[in-house]
Amino acid sequence: VTVGRIPFIAALLFAGLFAFAPQPRAQTAEDLVKATFLYRFTSFVTWPPGVFADEQAPVRLCVVGADAFAVTLARAVDGQRVGTRSFAVQRLTNVSAATQCQVLYVVGDRVDDALRAVRGSPVLTVTDGSVGGATRGMIHFVVISDRIRFHIDDARAAESQLAVDSRLLSLAVSVRRRAAA
């Protein structure tokens, strides 16, 4: 360890403290449920051809603005598969890179940026009203009667060439229908 690096390490530690400090409830059951829901959504969504390199290519789940949740999600998807694919969880700081994700969970103040960045791209956007976000992605978590529920904006999904299974739609609290094909 060089002396030159000490400030960097200190800064990193500080940053880490800072990063985890605002999410004291990161390991809640609610996050686990949302994480589970998040990867399960992929069972009901069909991406346009060319999104995946091959059959074995993992589904990339990206998290913006919720690092603790990203950890929970990473644990939740461990060993899970959808079809032939496994999952890969990625924390994003640069939302412009989100176009490479298949699912983008975004909370906090960068929601609008992120949504704007992936608009039209085949990325399933998930927002979370339970942590106070008002802007809605294609799927928007809410808490109703102490249970996690979600709204679905199928019209937006359609703009991104995503097909959402009707069974998933039937589970939604509300659905914004896509225009009739």
Binding site: V33, R40, S43, Q80, R81, R147, I148, F150, D165, L171
Partner: protein, 575 residues
């Protein structure tokens, strides 16, 4: 009926087969029902398994996103299926998150472990896991209440009844067949038995007939031998008397007695032959009065001294058509019966009267006795052959049968009236003859030698030397020139050599290939103009020679001469 049923089951392969078939049919039906029931259960289990798979797939999103309301919606949709009585969805932790229970049914358990479709009592239960991408999300519980036993039974009842009916029909068929077979067998056995009985009876009757004939022949032989002894005594003593006595008048008287004795002997043999039924019936006009008067001496001698014979025949009695010998035998039979009916003596009266009637004229001859009479219960049977009331060895039962036979064969009738202890009257009704009894009258009126045909050459065919000698003597007496040969072949040889004979007189019964009838036919074929007269002591063959006159033995010289004359005249007339 029960017995018949039991028999039907007991005997006969057909019946047993039918019963076995019926049992097999029922067993088959039961087996089919079992298979069907098993198949039904399998099908139901398969159905519920599929149903639970569908439910499982349907509720998997609800489980994935912990949406019990959504799961409940799916379960509620199951209520449309009336077979499902309960359903539930459990999450991965095994907690029931949604349930459906049909009204009045038992709810699904709060926790359930996965198991394949299986019956629990009357219910079929299946718990199917809900999986998604290798992850077990929970389980689905489904329960169907099996059909009530009654409804299930009713499903098979129709088929069952049909099978039972078929089995019943088959069984009844077998039983009926059995009864029929049994009846047939019984019938056959009875028929067989009957046949055997008939055969036995026929054999017995044959034997009886034979023994009775033997008995009758024995009786007759005895009687005839006795009579013949008497006759022979007369002849023998007559010959002795003639040897010792040279007085022509006394010799003539003795000769007359001898002639009568021999005639009676001839009559006896004729009766014997008639009895043995070898005598051909010869219907001819008969002067009854003449014959009855001629029988008076015989009757008086053959009946006992304590029996008075009274014969009363009117002079104007019509001649009748009958066989004189048979008629005499009939009278004799009746007389013997009368004698036996009068053990303490009495009167035998024979009367005759003309009986004109619309159906023709008849003569009634009554033979009446003053004997014991015939009981009313047997009077109807007395004309049956072999019927007799006499003790064994005393009567043949043929007497009245002969009387019946001769009157019937003559075209007449016979009646019998009897009053017990007063007597019996038998009436012979004989048809009147239009012709006069020429023979008897001639015999009576002209016993002397008729006109002879002297110089006629006669070929005599006779195997018996004694008879041939007598015939030769008689023919020479008549002025003929007889030549005798011993058999038919010799006769033909002689005729071939020199056919100079005016007539052939041949015996019928001869040794050799040809008998008299054959010879007569052959001679008639070769020499149709040569008249032929046959003679025989038997009457059995008398009916075959319709073409040739037959002189029956024994005969007198007058009869021989008449026969020869008529034959010669007939041949002369035909020329």
């Amino acid at each position: 009926m029960r017995q018949a049923l039991r028999n039907a089951f007991r005997r006969g392969p057909a019946q047993r087969g039918a019963v076995v078939f019926a049992i097999i049919l029922v067993l088959l039906g039961l087996l089919l029902a079992a298979f069907s029931e098993d198949g039904y259960q399998r099908q139901k289990a398969s159905e519920i398994a599929v149903q639970s798979q569908i439910v499982s797939a349907s509720v998997s999103p609800a489980l994935m996103f912990d949406n019990s309301a959504n799961a409940q919606d799916y379960l509620s949709a199951l209520s449309a299926n009336p077979a499902i009585s309960a359903a539930a969805v459990y999450n991965a932790a095994g907690v029931r998150i949604a349930a459906f229970t049909r009204a009045g049914g038992t709810p699904a358990p709060s926790r359930a472990s996965v198991r394949p479709a299986q019956f629990e009592g009357q219910s079929l239960v299946v718990v199917t896991p809900v999986r998604r991408d290798g992850e077990t999300l929970g389980a689905v519980y489904l329960r169907t209440d099996a059909e009530p036993a009654l409804r299930r039974f009713s499903r098979y009842a129709g088929v069952g009844i049909l099978i039972l009916l078929a089995a019943l029909v088959v069984t009844m068929f077998g039983v009926a067949q059995g009864i029929l077979t049994e009846a047939n067998a019984e019938l056959e056995a009875r028929a067989q038995q009957l046949l055997q009985e008939i055969e036995q009876r026929e054999r017995a009757e044959e034997e009886l007939l034979q023994s009775r004939k033997l008995e009758a022949i024995g009786q007759l032989t005895g009687g005839v031998a006795h009579d013949f002894n008497n006759l022979l005594t007369v002849v023998l003593s007559g010959l002795r008397l003639m040897e010792r006595n040279s007085d022509p008048a006394r010799r003539a008287s003795t000769m007359e007695a001898m002639r009568q004795a021999v005639e009676r002997g001839a009559g006896l043999t004729r009766q014997l032959l008639a009895f043995s039924r070898r005598q051909a019936l010869k219907l001819e006009p008969v002067d009854i009065g003449f014959h009855l008067q001629g029988m008076r001496a015989l009757l008086e001698r053959s009946l006992r001294a304590d029996i008075l014979v009274d014969i009363a025949i009117p002079a104007d009695l019509w001649p009748v058509k009958t066989d004189p010998t048979q008629f005499e035998l009939a009278i004799l039979n009746l007389a013997v019966n009368a004698r036996d009916a009068m053990p303490k003596g009495g009167v035998l009266s024979i009367t005759a009267a003309n009986a004109p009637s619309a159906n023709g004229d008849y003569v009634e001859v009554r033979v009446r006795d003053t004997g014991t009479g015939i009981p009313a219960d047997v009077v109807g049977r007395v004309f049956e052959p072999y019927f007799t009331t006499k003790q064994a060895g005393q009567g043949t039962g043929l007497g009245l049968s002969q009387v019946y036979g001769i009157t019937k064969q003559s075209g007449g009738d016979v009646r019998i009236e009897s009053v017990p202890n007063e007597g019996t009257c038998v009436t012979l009704v004989l048809p009147r003859s239009d012709e006069a009894p020429a023979l008897a009258a001639e015999q009576q009126t002209n016993p002397s030698t008729p006109s002879v045909t002297p110089g006629k050459a006669i070929l005599v065919v006779e195997d018996d030397d004694a008879v041939a000698g007598v015939v030769d003597q008689m023919l020479r007496e008549m002025g003929c020139r007889p030549t005798r040969v011993e058999n038919a072949q010799a006769a033909l040889t002689v005729l071939e050599r020199d056919n100079c004979f005016d007539l052939v007189f041949s015996d019928i019964i001869m040794p050799g290939a040809m008998n008299g009838v054959d010879l007569a036919n052959e001679i008639h074929r070769r020499y149709p103009r040569t008249p032929i007269v046959l003679t025989t002591g038997f009457s059995g063959s008398a009916n075959v020679d319709a073409d040739f006159p037959v002189l029956r033995k024994p005969y007198q010289i007058e009869e021989l001469e008449r026969a020869l004359m008529s034959a010669l005249e007939a041949s002369g007339a035909s020329r």
